[in-house]
Amino acid sequence: MSTLETPAPPPQPPAAATVRPLAKKRARPSEQLFKWLVVGLTAITMAMLIWLLTSVLIRGAGSISWAFLTDKPSSNPAKAGFNSALRGSIVLMMVTIFFAWPIGVAAALYLEKFAAQSATLTERRLRERLATGRVTGLGATWARTRLWWLRIRPRVVHLVDVNISNLAAVPSIIYGLLGLAIFVGVLGISKSLLAGGLTLAVLILPIIIIAAREALRAVPMSIEQGAMALGATRWQAVRRQVFPAALPGILTGTILAMSRAIGETAPLIVVGGVVYSTAVPSLNPLDAGNEALLAMPLQIYFWTDQPQASFQAIAAAGIIVLLATLLVMNLAAIILRNRYSKRW
């Protein structure tokens, strides 16, 4: 039955088994429909983004000029500039990073490199010391307290973990209320760039901790163990080997956290209100406690909230500047990541 030619001349072409003919490729409308549905939904999302960007660009491009970047605010939209807001945001970021970075990285180091480590050795030493009766009174109490701490430490660390991931999901406006009550209310800091910067520092602290922990985790244990095998203590190993290796990752995470902070509006409004000030803030972060709370997103909000169309145009111009800043920061993060990301 087979009429097929075979490559080499066999004695006789073996007859193929009989099977039902194969079905020809057919259109499956529901398949096509579904594919176009998901493609379409993705395209709509991207189209919305493009609509957003173009509408802002069209509205604001005409107002972008060198003068816009260097002028003070003004009640006259034609003369109003973005300079104070820019300066305010720069100082805010300096204050924020000054407080959030060391604390965030230190917390990450502790949680990732010390708290999670096993302490069986210390535990055994303490037990032996108690058993021999060499320690008495206060010393024994101290040893018992340490034993107790070692026992509950894993649970505490877990709670801290949960706490940090929950903090990262708290609405940012809540941080504003915290800042208002603590920094302005309790500590008596005026509604200034300092108060705003501190609030943003608290806001991005969990983000920095999470990013830094991820970067630390990406450094293979072998590096640390290698150093410890040479006689270094854990801290020496972490400081000399692990931390430098994780630094690019930590910095990438930090930049991304800052790009979150620089666009935050609500917590700043809650801490400092929306002030209209023609003062030009000093770029010296030590003066932050005396400078009115001005920032790019606050200025944009102020302008957007005005009814006149001419203010909408400069609000859009402000948004363009803000987005450009974000773009630069994200590019820096990407370059940093690609440049220094090591494959172990």
Partner: protein, 303 residues
């Protein structure tokens, strides 16, 4: 590699003490994160308690009018507005986010995926003030062509832009969940003669369901806490209504409105923002906990 540069014997007690001090400092830093949570709870509860000495808690939760200047503190209009806008956002974001997630995880060639995914994530990093501007400046005018009587401030535009904001959250978390479904599962289904649509909808999505649902729940929590877009787009007039074409004030928008003016410390208005803040905190916390539970309880463990 840096070998210890001093002989072992000279690694003095002082060195060890210094190391202990460093460790203590690191631990203190970790404690600060706990203090932040404690601080949030204490501040909200303490200031909120001041408010509830003046306004009975029953009136707060059952009152249907929120006019602080007239001493009417029924939170329902604010809460309702937050929910309405979050629901509109979910209606927008769930199809967009899930559609993109399915496309990226099951259909898109790797090259395209690597381009599309970061673009979607731009939306997630968009400052919300920008979305508020977009709502007022572009979305509402566009909607007014469809609904001629639509006012400048309306829940619909606010919900749409908040939906845009949370779309990448859903798409990215759902996609992660779907890509975590082992390929062997897909092959098994394809090997039985299933089409790609069936594999996506009947195998991958159910297998990733806990992650998908959790992403939606988290996104809704994010939408409820969203501030600037709703403040700008939905207006500042408390309005107990389910009509998305009307303006309404959310909890967050109220806090902004009070903060903008100079509410003096100790005034009832000042206290009221902490009271509604406490409500907001509790609501979002509960939603987040639900999300975590969903993931933990229904997570499928693949061998």
């Amino acid at each position: 590699m840096t070998p210890p540069d001093r002989p072992r014997a000279r690694r003095s007690a002082r060195g060890r003490f210094g190391e202990k001090a460093v460790l203590l400092a690191l631990a203190a830093a970790a404690t600060i994160s706990v203090l932040v949570t404690v601080g949030i709870v204490v501040v909200l509860v303490e200031e909120g308690a001041l408010f509830f000495t003046d306004v009975p808690i029953t009136e707060f939760f059952t009152g249907t009018q929120w006019f602080p200047l007239e001493g009417k503190f029924g939170v329902l209009p604010l809460l309702n507005a937050s929910i309405v806008i979050a629901l509109i956002a979910a209606v927008v974001a769930v199809p967009l986010g899930l559609g993109s997630a399915i496309y990226l995880s099951e259909y898109a060639p790797e090259r395209l995926r690597r381009v599309v995914k970061p673009i979607l994530e731009i939306l997630a990093g968009m400052p919300t003030i920008v979305l508020g501007f977009f709502a007022l400046d572009a979305v509402t005018p566009a909607l007014q062509m469809v609904f001629p009587g639509l006012g400048l401030y309306n829940a619909l535009a606010a919900g749409i832009v908040v939906g845009l904001l949370i779309t990448p959250l859903i798409s990215s978390l759902s996609e992660d969940a779907m890509r975590a479904v082992p390929n062997s599962m897909r092959e098994g289904a394809f090997g039985l003669g299933a089409t790609r649509r069936v594999v996506s909808l009947r195998v991958v999505v159910p297998a990733a369901l806990s992650g998908i649902v959790a992403s939606i729940v988290l996104a809704i929590s994010r939408a409820i806490g969203e501030t600037m877009a709703v403040t700008l787009a939905a207006g500042t007039i408390p309005n107990l209504s389910w009509n998305p074409l009307e303006g309404m004030q959310t909890i967050t928008a109220y806090i902004v409105q009070v903060s903008k003016g100079e509410a003096t410390r100790g005034s009832l208005q000042y206290d009221s923002i902490f009271a509604v803040g406490l409500l907001l905190f509790v609501v979002t916390l509960v939603i987040n906990i639900i999300a975590v539970r969903i993931v933990r309880k229904y997570r499928t463990v693949y061998q």
